[in-house]
């Protein structure tokens, strides 16, 4: 855990941090690869929700270059398998995520990110 599907859905939410607050940048990560069930229906349904460029860049940063720069029109099996692996099988177990805008660091411990804000960061 922190899988890339979740990472793609999390933005910095500190007070007044509303632009350029996504994607959070991984740092000092420890990765684990764990198998997950392949469900093409789920992947197809989820595609419109993804920020594609952020996903491709983050995967690349973590060493996976299997995804095309542009989201393809034809969702063939090979593409879906690669997408499945990137979204659901790469786990960031330790490290942190930093906001590109305000610099808030969200630490990850035993696979669970701490997304709590400090007192001066809430509205």
């Amino acid at each position: 855990m922190v899988r890339l599907i979740t990472h793609n859905l999390l933005a910095c939410h500190a007070k007044d941090c509303n632009t350029n607050n996504f994607p959070l940048a991984f740092k000092d990560v420890q990765l684990e690869i764990r198998e997950a069930e392949f469900n093409p229906e789920f992947l197809r349904g989820f595609l419109p929700k993804l920020e594609w460029t952020a996903l491709v860049d983050t995967a690349k940063q973590l060493g996976d270059t299997s995804l095309p720069v542009e989201q393809p029109e034809m969702l063939d099996d090979e593409f879906l398998k690669n997408l499945h692996h990137v979204l659901l099988e790469i786990h960031v177990e330790e490290g942190s995520m930093t906001c590109p805008n305000c610099g808030h660091v969200y630490p990850i411990l035993n696979g669970i990110p701490n997304m709590l804000l400090a007192e001066h960061e809430i509205g």
Binding site: R3, I5, F42, N110, L116
Partner: protein
């Protein structure tokens, strides 16, 4: 349309029909309930329903926690004379078993024991059916069942067999299948779980909640008050992918490197379906966009065991202190403990209203919000739930779990709108003015600790709300 007899488990009566309807919707089964109110009364132990095919009855019995058994329906009556008359008209349904089918005949009832002698008498009264197959008490090809419905005798003591034969109605049919989903109650028993806590939800109720979410493979489901993850186990068992969050990470982690929720899910073989866990206050959440989830299922903090809190302070700090805190956070020394922000209480009626607005934002159209709301039974009025609704969110089920001096309601809300709404602001709502209705769940915590004395003199033993 063919008719089937559903026999319910003797538990959670108010949850029976919502579950039946939810699982019907999930499996694409059209379930037609009896049209008259009396036959549709969920407090009765059996109900005759219309289904398109026999297989549908079997599918319901494999997924509904509250189904004890399903039968092909032949007849019913207020007396045996009426029953037999109706059964003769059903001959086309059972004629195929006359020639050469081994069978067993059972006379049973709810809440009552029928003496052997009368059972025998009843069985003999069916002799006109002329079954030629052999009677087999061990492995019959079919089981024919006569079910006498007695009024609920709970809390009254009676002499054995007293009132025998004074049933309300009697039903007759052929057993199709016993409800196999009930076995899951033992499987998800909290005490046998690798990780649980004092907020864990009892097994049967968490299964009923899971069925209200329509959990199935490929569904994406969120619990914003994850705690020890009780609802994530049955939902992931049914195939759904789960995300959980909690303001207190320790609830999800427990002790040890592998988070407790993952340890428990591993025991159930569903760890790969727990997509992620994250620590945050749901009123300051990091979700980048809405319309993400098929369902939100949660047991919100009522304030008794696990108090409702949110980031902030009860009283604002003076500016100079705020500045000190800020400097301390920004220039923390390396040996400092992890920062734990201050929290303030979160009134339950605000929380419930916020949850509905959050659900509208985070759910896909047609998605479901399933959650518990504690309430003082004496004070409870239907308006409670409707005061916290918003446009585009509709209550589709509302089931009371009654504990006597208090109760809680499992509420199922469907997102009916296709519109996109902005994320909720979580601003504390203005004080409710004196003229408007005050929901019974307002200030629940205070009432709970007073044992609801203002309304009842009953002594409240302070049992847990989540695990009574």
């Amino acid at each position: 349309m063919p008719r089937y007899l559903v026999q319910f488990a003797q538990a959670h009566n108010d949850f029976r029909l919502p579950e039946l309807q939810s699982i019907g919707e999930l499996l694409g089964i059209s379930v037609t309930l009896p049209s008259d109110l009396e036959s549709r009364d969920p407090m009765r132990p059996v109900m005759v329903i219309d289904l398109e095919v026999e297989e549908h009855a079997r599918l319901l019995a494999r997924r509904c926690i509250l189904i004890k058994a399903v039968y092909e329906f032949y007849a019913q009556g207020f007396t045996y004379a009426e029953l037999h008359e109706a059964n003769k008209l059903s001959q086309p349904s059972w004629a195929r078993y006359i020639e050469d089918t081994s069978f067993r005949f059972l006379v049973t009832s709810s809440q009552h024991k029928i003496p052997q002698a009368r059972q025998k008498e009843v069985i003999e009264s069916f002799s006109y059916m002329g079954f030629l197959g052999k009677i087999d008490m061990k492995n019959p090809e079919i089981n024919l069942i006569c079910f006498e419905e007695y009024d609920d005798r709970h809390k009254t003591t009676r002499v054995r067999h007293e009132g025998d034969g004074e049933f309300r109605e009697v039903f007759f049919g052929r057993l199709l299948e016993e409800g196999s989903a009930r076995q899951l109650i033992a499987k998800f028993d909290v005490k046998k779980r690798a990780y649980y806590g004092n907020t864990s939800m009892e097994s049967e109720i968490s299964l009923l909640m899971a069925n209200q979410t329509l959990a199935s493979p490929g569904k994406f489901i969120y619990d914003p008050f994850m705690g020890t993850g009780s609802m994530s186990y049955p939902t992931s068992h049914f195939g759904a992918l789960i995300v959980g969050s909690d303001i207190d990470g320790r609830q999800m982690r427990g002790k040890g490197k592998t988070p407790g929720v993952i340890r428990a899910a591993t025991q159930y073989g569903t760890a790969s379906r727990i997509i992620d866990l994250a620590t945050f206050d749901v009123t300051h959440n990091p979700w980048r966009c809405g319309e993400l989830f098929d369902a939100i299922v949660t047991d919100p903090p009522y304030g008794v065991r696990a108090g409702a809190k949110r980031l902030g302070r009860k009283k604002e700090l003076p500016d100079y202190k705020k500045e000190l805190c800020l400097q301390h956070t920004l220039n923390g020394r390396p040996d400092d403990q992890p920062y734990i922000p201050p929290t303030k209480p979160y009134e339950l009626s605000h929380l419930a209203a916020d949850l509905v607005v959050l659900g509208r934002y985070l759910l896909k159209p047609n998605g479901r919000l399933v959650f518990f709301l504690p309430t003082v039974t004496d004070e409870y009025e239907e308006v409670d739930i409707h005061t916290m609704l918003c446009e585009g969110m509709e209550v589709i089920a509302n089931s009371l779990q009654d504990f006597g001096s208090w109760g809680r309601r499992l509420v199922t809300i469907r997102k009916t709108t296709l519109e996109k709404y902005p994320p909720p602001s979580f601003d504390p709502t203005p004080e409710i003015d004196a003229n408007s209705h005050i929901p019974a769940h307002k200030d629940f915590r205070e009432k709970y600790f007073q044992g609801f004395k203002s309304k009842t003199d009953e002594f409240n033993d302070g049992a847990s709300l989540s695990d009574p």
